[in-house]
């Protein structure tokens, strides 16, 4: 055997050993393991290390998946550079997290598809790159607020605008980004200029058939919408025109087509005009689709419309009912009962006296008196008119609401009433989670809902106050001391009083021929408190028993004390079981005063499931950031380290929590932890930093500690 061959053999054995060391199972699962090992041996050392590292990380999630990775990894290095390979791995891991093993395996096995898409991405444009901007653009253009989301087809259902995940139709990224913009603007125009207005939609669905006449109708509408855009947004229309056609023959075909339907270019053309033309032009050869034209899914639009129309109708009637009550309160009785007074009081909507006759300008009248609309009502009315064109009388009759709509009942149902939490009812928010092994976020990994805490014993607050009477007094005093820390500053250049001492000194200076100071005033500087505190309370199962009692009692004492300071504060509990069911319990929001309901909710706090902390910190940090205050504190009351069903134990949970804390710190929040876990020394310094936590061995000390933190952090 030659030296080279021997070296080769050693190499193969080394790689085989290395892989076995990482995970014994992985190689056994690969059908052609020998070939794969040989291929890996061909790679650079750096690439080999990369493969080892990721094999190890993936095997932590799933051995089978790791095997598919190893089997495809050598080929991946042939087609992709290392960052692209990493992206490919992350895509598979995300698929595993969110959709399961089958989808993840598919990503690894269909390497060629990924390579092709990757090539496109280099020249194309990703939805994620433009999504933020497009949301603002669509919102800015006006009308009903349309969400922007990604789906394989470009279309709108009148609630959302859907755009493909990536576009590489045109040459270069900028051109594709521009195409995204034109797609979004065109789909916005369908909503704005009445393509999906209720009557037009119903007629279209009745008259048209998918194969033949819908495509014609879509082109007619394109002509009409482009004309509308040209009138209102000429700059945008120029840009759209420039990229609309694939080639000159397409342009010529469109010019001919447009010339046949001059009535659609008129200002008063509607979707009905297009519809009327369908019969006339049936059988005509169609020009190729415009690039930004997207697709039409009338059934999905109809579904969204049927959901929205009754909901908005009820909302409008409710709003008008409230307005009517208010208006009638201000009308003297005799005027209401005056004989011969014009029939019943009623609302009407009329087009405003806008000289340009814009259709989007409306005013609301009550008994022919113009009444001002708030922004909510205005946008509601705008949305309804966008669907219907004009209003039936019963829309404007608050009394018609009595036969309550299902949609109305739905909106009255509080999130807490939903027995299962996540299905329907309460809104689910998705948060990322930090995976320290991958050194990456698992995007949209945690599903979180906010829920109300059921009311507990009414007497709990009073009993607690009675029990800790002495303690609560002294806490109160500490807090009041913080408040009175206003001080008079002497020797100021400006101020409200003369500083006599300084004046005498200056006078002496002058007599002695020295330069006198101009700092002759005193200035009363009150410590302008601007503090917002978020209490994040552990409601995991492990708090059952005296820990839970202690938490509840401390909260009662705390609320009393913080109320004296006038600081803004909120209390939320957190718990959860797996990333799919993270739960946050509202106990007191920032807007809510400290009242009986809050006290009863504190009393009603009960131990739930596990401690998934990262997602709770991210969510509550977001809420806290929405509050205007100079100092923001996130105080966690906890009984142990983060822990959840599944992988959220030990280092993983600690690292995610630490990362979440770093994120909120970066946004200007001071996190602090109060724990009763005596072993906290081993992990809390790593999560919160060496001085941002305190371990309490007796529950009585808990409120004291918080008073301390206040003094330290807010003065």
């Amino acid at each position: 055997m030659s030296d080279g061959a021997r070296q080769n053999l050693f190499n193969l054995i080394r790689i085989q050993k290395d892989l076995e060391k990482i995970s014994g199972q992985v190689l056994a699962r690969i059908p052609r393991a020998n070939e794969v090992v040989a291929e890996i041996a061909e790679l650079e050392r750096e690439a080999q290390d990369f493969i080892y590292h990721w094999t190890e990380v993936i095997a932590l999630s799933n051995d089978e998946l790791a095997a598919h990775f190893v089997a495809n990894a050598p080929a991946a290095f042939v087609w992709l550079d290392q960052p692209a390979v990493e992206e490919w791995i992350i895509k598979a891991m995300d698929a595993f997290d969110n959709r399961g093993l089958g989808f993840a395996v598919e990503v690894f096995d269909e390497l060629q598809a990924y390579v092709a898409a990757h090539g496109d991405r280099q020249t194309g444009c990703q939805f994620d790159q433009v999504a933020g901007f497009l949301r603002y653009l669509v919102k800015g253009l006006g009308g009903r607020t349309l969400q922007v989301a990604s789906e394989p087809h470009a279309y709108t259902d009148t609630e959302k605008i859907f755009l493909p995940q990536a576009l590489s139709v045109l040459e270069g990224q900028a051109a594709n980004a521009s195409l995204y913009k034109c797609l979004a603007a065109f789909l916005w125009a369908q909503n704005r200029y009445g393509t999906w207005r209720y009557r037009a939609l119903e007629e279209a669905i009745r008259q048209l058939d998918a194969a033949e006449t819908w495509p014609l109708y879509q082109r007619l509408e394109s002509v009409r919408l482009c004309a509308c855009l040209e009138r209102d947004l000429p700059g945008l229309q120029r840009e759209m025109e420039a990229l609309a056609y694939a080639d000159d023959s397409a342009r010529a075909a469109w010019d001919t087509f447009r010339a046949r339907v001059p009535s659609l270019l008129a200002e008063d053309a509607t979707a009905q005009t297009s519809l009327a033309l369908v019969a006339e032009l049936r059988g005509l050869p169609l020009p190729p689709p415009l690039r930004f034209q997207g697709e039409m899914f009338p059934a999905r639009v109809r579904e969204a419309l049927f959901r929205r129309v009754p909901r908005e109708k009820a909302a409008l009637q409710r709003a008008l009912g409230a307005m009517q009550n208010e208006l009638e309160m201000h009308t003297p009785d005799d005027e209401q009962n005056r004989p011969g007074a014009q029939a019943p009081n009623r609302f009407s909507v009329s087009k405003g006296e806008d000289e340009q006759g814009r259709s989007d300008f409306h005013e609301l009248r009550y008994n022919n008196e113009r009444v001002p609309m708030g922004p909510e009502l205005e946008s509601l009315l705008d949305s309804i008119l966008q669907d219907l064109g004009d209003l039936d009388d019963d829309y404007l009759d608050p009394k018609a609401l009595r036969d309550a709509y299902p949609a109305d009942r739905e909106s009255k149902q509080g999130p807490g009433e939903d027995p299962d939490g996540h299905e329907g009812g309460s809104r689910v928010e998705l948060y990322p989670e930090w995976d320290y092994q991958r050194q990456r976020f698992r995007e949209a990994f945690c599903a979180l809902t906010e829920q109300d805490v059921p009311f507990g014993d009414e007497g709990f607050a009073a009993a607690t106050r009675e029990k800790y009477r002495g303690l609560s007094k002294s806490i109160q005093r500490v807090f009041e001391a913080i408040l009175s820390e206003a001080q008079r500053q002497k020797k100021q250049a400006h101020g409200d009083e003369l500083d006599l001492d300084a004046l005498i000194e200056a006078h002496v200076d002058r007599l002695q021929g020295r330069e006198m100071s101009d700092r002759l005033y005193t200035h009363l500087r009150k410590s302008g408190r601007s503090v917002a505190v978020m209490f994040m309370v552990d409601m995991s199962g492990s708090t059952k028993g005296w820990v839970n009692d202690a938490e509840r009692e401390s909260l009662i004492l705390l609320c009393d004390a913080v109320a004296t300071l006038g600081d803004q504060y909120a209390i939320y509990g957190f718990s959860g079981r797996t990333n799919k069911r993270c739960e946050i319990y509202r106990i007191k929001t920032f807007d809510e005063p400290y009242n009986g309901a809050v006290k009863r909710r504190i009393a009603g706090m009960a131990p739930k499931a596990y401690t998934r902390m990262g997602v709770a910190i991210r969510h509550l940090g977001k809420l806290l950031n929405a509050v205007p205050a100079r100092t923001k504190l996130l105080i966690t009351l906890s009984d142990g380290k983060p822990e959840d069903y599944g992988s959220y134990r030990g280092r993983y949970g600690i690292e995610d929590t630490r990362h979440a804390l770093l994120e909120v710190k970066r946004s200007g929040i001071h996190p602090f932890c109060i724990t009763i876990d005596k072993e906290a020394q081993s992990y809390l310094p790593h999560m919160y930093g060496p001085s941002n936590f305190t371990v309490v061995d007796e529950v009585q000390k808990l409120p004291w500690k918080v008073a301390d933190i206040y003094r330290r952090l807010t003065t």
Partner: protein, 269 residues
């Protein structure tokens, strides 16, 4: 502060350009005649200050404007002793000056001022009509020509800076909003000198940015910003650049929002 001295110089000679939104001129004049203080509410750049200038001209009274800030105390408004060459010398503050000369005193963004300013504002604003100058030991009786006008912007103030009920219930309140499209168009074209069509597009662009209020932008483009953009356009700057510099960058620093505002401007021109 020497410029304070000559009251007659402070009367505005030339009629400032102002387009009434409604009947605010009559209401202001009636309140003035009845010696009622006036509160102007409205977003920034919608014409509050211009309105005061106009009313000052309309009523032919001198105008004293104070831009309030967090360190503005009652003493800053009333006056203070200054030390000059070993002597202390009294110097009237803008409010005392306005009272002595029967001027209109305009406190811009009143909520920014220190809370202790209410000590002097309250007795001025009810039927007592007096200004206590405690350091001089004087109670100035306020002449009928004097009028106090304050403004505040309910939109962007934090909850910590709301106007107290005891203060706001002393005023006749006039609410200002952005003018209706046609009126705003007229204002933009008159103020900046651009043609009607450009003004129409600018106003349209303004409306688009106002749609973004609350979802990214704190405020949409004010009439003032649109006028500024118009002035740049009138000087030959291209509309896209004028809108970017005069409006976009004035509204936000967020790159995605800037991009959106830029595209909205490009869309209407």
């Amino acid at each position: 502060m020497n410029t304070l001295t000559n009251a007659a110089d402070r009367i505005i000679d030339e009629e400032p350009y102002y387009e009434p939104h409604g009947n605010e001129v009559e209401i202001f004049a009636a309140a003035y005649r009845n010696q009622l203080p006036i509160l102007l509410k409205g977003p920034t750049g919608c014409g509050k200050t211009r309105f005061i200038h106009y009313m000052s001209w309309y009523l032919q009274r001198p105008l004293v404007t104070v831009a309030c800030h967090d360190d503005l105390t009652a003493a800053d408004l009333v006056g203070r002793y200054l030390v000059r060459g070993g002597e202390t010398e009294w110097l009237d503050g803008p409010l005392t000056y306005a009272v002595r000369h029967g001027a209109i005193c305009y406190l811009d963004e009143i909520v920014e001022a220190r809370k202790d300013t209410s000590v002097v504002i309250h007795p001025l604003c009810d039927d007592r009509r007096i200004l206590p100058v405690d350091k001089l030991g004087q109670l100035l009786q306020v002449p009928p020509e004097f009028s106090l006008v304050v403004s505040f912007n309910p939109g962007y103030q934090s909850v910590l800076k709301d106007l107290k009920q005891s203060t706001r219930q002393r005023f006749v309140a006039l609410e200002f909003g952005y003018p209706e499209a046609t009126l705003e168009q007229k204002i933009v074209s008159t103020e900046s000198g651009v043609d009607e069509d450009t003004a129409r597009r600018l106003v349209k662009f303004g409306e688009h940015t106002r749609n973004l209020k609350g979802s990214g932008l704190e405020e949409g483009a004010s009439t003032r910003l649109l006028v500024n953009a118009g002035k740049l356009i009138a000087c030959g700057i291209s509309p896209a650049i004028a809108c970017d510099t005069a409006v976009g960058h004035a509204l936000t620093d967020d790159p995605e929002l800037l991009h959106a505002v830029h595209e909205l401007a490009a869309a209407v021109f």
